[in-house]
Symmetry: C2
Subunit: 409 residues, 2 copies
C-alpha cells in the first residue's frame, strides 16, 4: 500500500519557496539566524502550516517545534526533522528541506486519509547551525538530554544577547520538556552539502553515519627577525613550520583511509613583508568515519609538531577546539531507506555524512538514519546552494516511504 | 697624526642617551615618527648640539639637517650621516647612532683644534624609516635627486596628513635646496640590525654594499568548500598552494648563493575552521647581493607559481611591491674603513647590508661606505635593540679615522 503513496512535488516546492522568502537575501539565499526576527517569522509560518494540517503542535522549553500526527497505538513516535535556522550567508535548502519535507509527508498521509500504527512527528530543532549561539545542534542536543535547558538558556551570542531571553522575546519558549515525545526512530532528509552525489552521476544517499571530528588550534611561536639582515640559518620561522604542518596534514589524507584535513585559519603576526613572523595561529579540521583512524591522524600530527619543535626551535601549543566521536547510524534504518528507494525505483548509494546534523544527537535516543539529495556544485552555506525539484521530490518520497514503513512495522 | 685621535666614548654615550629620552617609550625604546612632535624635539636637540659646536647649520627644503665643519680648501665635503626618525616601536640606536657619532667626530676634531683639508659634514636625513611617509629613505632620496621636493611634499601619511604641511608645522622646511652641499664621499655608521657580527664573535663590519630586493605580493585563488563534506580530490586549496610556495622559496635559499626569502604576510579568507580557503594573499621578500642571482630566484618563484596553477587549479596573481637593484659600495672607501679599523687595532669583517640605508641613496652621488657594529641578539625595530658602549665607541672611532683620512687625502 505504501508503495503507491507519493508526495506532491509541486506543493513541496511551493512550501520551500514560501519559507525561503522569509529572511531572503538579495543574492538569492537566506539569513534566518537562530532566534532572530526572521527565525520567528519562519517559526510562525511553520506553526501555521502544521496547524492547518490539523496536527498537534507543541513547543518545548528550548523552542523546538513539534507537529504530531497521532497513530492508532500509543507508544514512541517516528520522528522526522531538521532545522529552519541558517548561517549568515545561508542558502534555501540546508535544514529547511528536512522540515518542509516532513510537513509534506504528514500532509500526504492526511490527504490519503491514512493513519499510521505509531505516532509520526516532524520537529524543527532550534539553533542547529551554531552561527548565532554555541554549540551547534543545540536544540537536538538539549532534546537528547546532552545539555540542560538552563545551560542552553544561558548561552550568549557574539553581541551578548542571552539565548533564553531571545527565545522569550520571539515567543518560542514553550511549556514542553525537551524530549517529551519518546522516539521510536528518527529520519532526516538533508542536502548533501558536498559534491559526491552530483559528480557520481546523481541519485540519492543513504547516510551510514556521521564521521568523527577533531578540531585543533595550533599556536606556533618562533622568533621575529629582520628579513633582510638575518641569515636564513638564524631564523625561527613559525610560518614556514606552519606550511610544513599544512602539507603534512594533507599528506596524511593519502595514507590514512577516509581521512580529511583542512587548515582553514592561518593568522600571522606581525604580518610585515620584511619581518620573519613571530607567531602563527592555525587550525586543523581533521575528520574520519573511523574513530581509530582519526586518532591515528591526530597522533601523527602531534608527533610531527614535536619533531618540528625539536628540529626548528618552534614552540607549538595545541588546543582542542572540538572533538566528536563517529556516529554510526542504525543498519536496519539505513536498509529501510535503501529499500524505500529501491521500491520507488530511485538510485541510492551508501555514504558517510561529512557534516554534523541533528540526526547525530537523535541517534543517542533511537535508531536513526538520513537521506541525502545532491547539492549542485557541492555548494552549501552559500546563497547559490541549490538542489533540483526532481531530487527534492525523490528525497521526500524516500522519506515518506521509509517513515511509513517504520511507523507501521 | 690621525691615528692618535679618539672620540670621547662617554660623551658619545651621553649624547645618545639624551636623544633617546626624546620619544622614549615605557618599554625602553623610542618612538620618533618622522615629522611628529617627537621628531621636532629630536631635531631641536640636534640643531642645538651642532650650533654649540660652532658648526654651520643648514636645513634644506625636505627637512634634512646639515652641520658643516669648514675645511681648509673649497670643494666637495666628506659627509657623515644617518637619520633620527624611528619606526613606531623603535629602539635607541637605529639611525640615531650614525647622526650622533657624526656629531661626536666633528666635536673631537673641534676639541683637537684640527681643520681638515676638505669640508666635513653630518646630515640627519628626513623620514628614513618610511614608517610614517612613503617611500623610506625619502630625505636622502630627495637629496640625491631621485625625487622632487614637490613630489615629496605631497606624500600623505596613513591619516592623510600632508608631508609638506607637517614639515612646515614642526618648523623644518628649510631654505636650502636638497643636495646643496656637493659630496666628496659619504660614510655612515649604523647598527647591523642582524645577528651576524655578534654570532661571529663580535667586531665591526665593513659594509660592501646593499643587497638587491624584490618584494612580491601573491594572491592565490582556489575554491571555497566545506571541510567535512568535500572529498580531498575535489578541493582547490590556495592555503595548501601557499604552503608549498613558502617552502619552495625557502628551498631556493639553499641552492642560490646569498639568497634570502621571507613570507611575512599570509592572509586567508574566509578563515573558518571548517571551510577550505577561497583566497590567500601572501608576500615574498626576496634579497640577494647579486642582481643576477635575485632575478634567477624570482624567475624560479614565478615558474613554480605557473606549475602550481596548472597542476592544482589555483589562480595566482603576482604584483610587484618593491624592487631595488643591488648597491655596491666603493672599494676605495671600503678599504679606507678596513684600514682605519686595522690602524686602531679593531677586528673588522666585510659584509653585505641586509637592510636599506641612506647610504644607498648617497651612493648615487659619491663614493660611499658604511661601518656596522654588532646588534645584540640581532634585534632591531624593537625596544630591546641594543649595542654596547664599547662597540659604539669602536664604530665611532673607525668613522672618525676613515672620515679624517678621506677628508685629508
Amino acid at each position: 500500500m505504501s508503495s503507491n503513496l507519493r508526495i506532491d512535488g509541486v506543493r513541496l516546492a511551493s512550501r520551500l519557496t514560501a519559507l525561503s522568502r522569509i529572511g531572503a537575501t538579495p543574492e538569492g539565499g537566506c539569513r534566518r539566524l537562530a532566534l532572530s526576527d526572521e527565525d520567528r517569522q519562519g517559526r510562525d509560518w511553520l506553526v501555521a502550516e502544521l496547524t492547518a494540517l490539523g496536527l498537534t503542535v507543541k513547543i518545548d522549553a528550548i523552542g523546538n517545534i513539534v507537529g504530531i500526527l497521532k497513530g492508532r497505538e500509543d507508544g514512541p513516535a517516528v520522528i522526522m526533522g531538521s532545522h529552519i535556522d541558517t548561517v549568515g550567508t545561508g542558502g534555501r535548502f540546508d535544514g529547511a528541506l528536512g522540515v518542509v519535507a516532513g510537513v509534506e509527508v504528514l500532509a500526504t498521509l492526511r490527504d490519503a486519509g491514512l493513519t499510521p500504527k505509531r505516532d509520526m512527528a516532524v520537529i524543527a530543532f532550534t539553533n542547529e547551525e551554531g552561527a548565532r549561539f554555541h554549540p551547534d545542534m543545540l536544540g537536538s542536543y538539549v532534546w537528547a538530554g546532552g545539555m540542560s535547558v538552563a545551560a542552553a538558556h544561558a548561552e550568549l551570542d557574539a553581541e551578548g544577547a542571552v539565548l533564553g531571553a531571545e527565545l522569550k522575546r520571539i515567543g518560542y519558549e514553550g511549556p514542553e520538556q525537551p524530549g517529551f515525545l519518546p522516539a521510536h526512530a528518527y529520519l532526516e532528509l538533508h542536502i548533501e552539502q558536498g559534491p559526491v552525489l552530483e559528480s557520481e552521476g546523481g541519485g540519492l544517499g543513504a547516510v551510514t553515519g556521521i564521521q568523527a571530528i577533531c578540531w585543533l588550534e595550533l599556536t606556533l611561536t618562533g622568533r621575529p627577525s629582520h628579513a633582510g639582515t638575518t641569515p636564513m640559518v638564524y631564523r625561527k620561522d613559525p610560518g614556514l613550520a606552519g606550511a610544513r604542518l599544512n602539507i603534512f596534514a594533507h599528506e596524511l589524507t593519502k595514507t590514512i583511509p577516509g581521512q580529511l584535513a583542512n587548515c582553514g585559519v592561518i593568522r600571522v603576526q606581525p604580518a610585515n613583508v620584511n619581518v620573519v613572523p613571530e607567531t602563527v595561529v592555525m587550525t586543523l579540521d581533521l575528520r574520519n568515519p573511523s574513530d581509530e583512524a582519526l586518532a591515528q591522524a591526530e597522533a601523527a600530527v602531534r608527533a610531527y609538531c614535536a619533531e618540528l619543535s625539536a628540529r626548528d626551535g618552534i614552540e607549538i601549543a595545541i588546543r582542542d577546539l572540538a572533538r566528536f566521536p563517529a556516529t554510526p547510524f542504525t543498519e536496519a534504518l539505513i536498509s529501510a531507506v535503501e529499500g524505500s528507494a529501491a521500491e520507488l525505483g530511485l538510485p541510492i548509494r551508501r555514504m558517510i555524512s561529512g557534516a554534523g546534523h541533528d540526526a547525530q544527537m537523535m541517534s543517542r535516543l533511537c535508531p536513526t538514519a538520513m537521506v541525502f539529495i545532491p547539492s549542485i556544485g557541492g555548494l552549501s552555506h552559500n546563497p547559490a546552494e541549490f538542489s533540483t525539484d526532481e531530487d527534492i521530490a525523490s528525497g521526500a518520497n524516500v522519506l515518506l516511504n521509509a517513515a511509513w514503513r517504520v511507523a507501521n512495522a
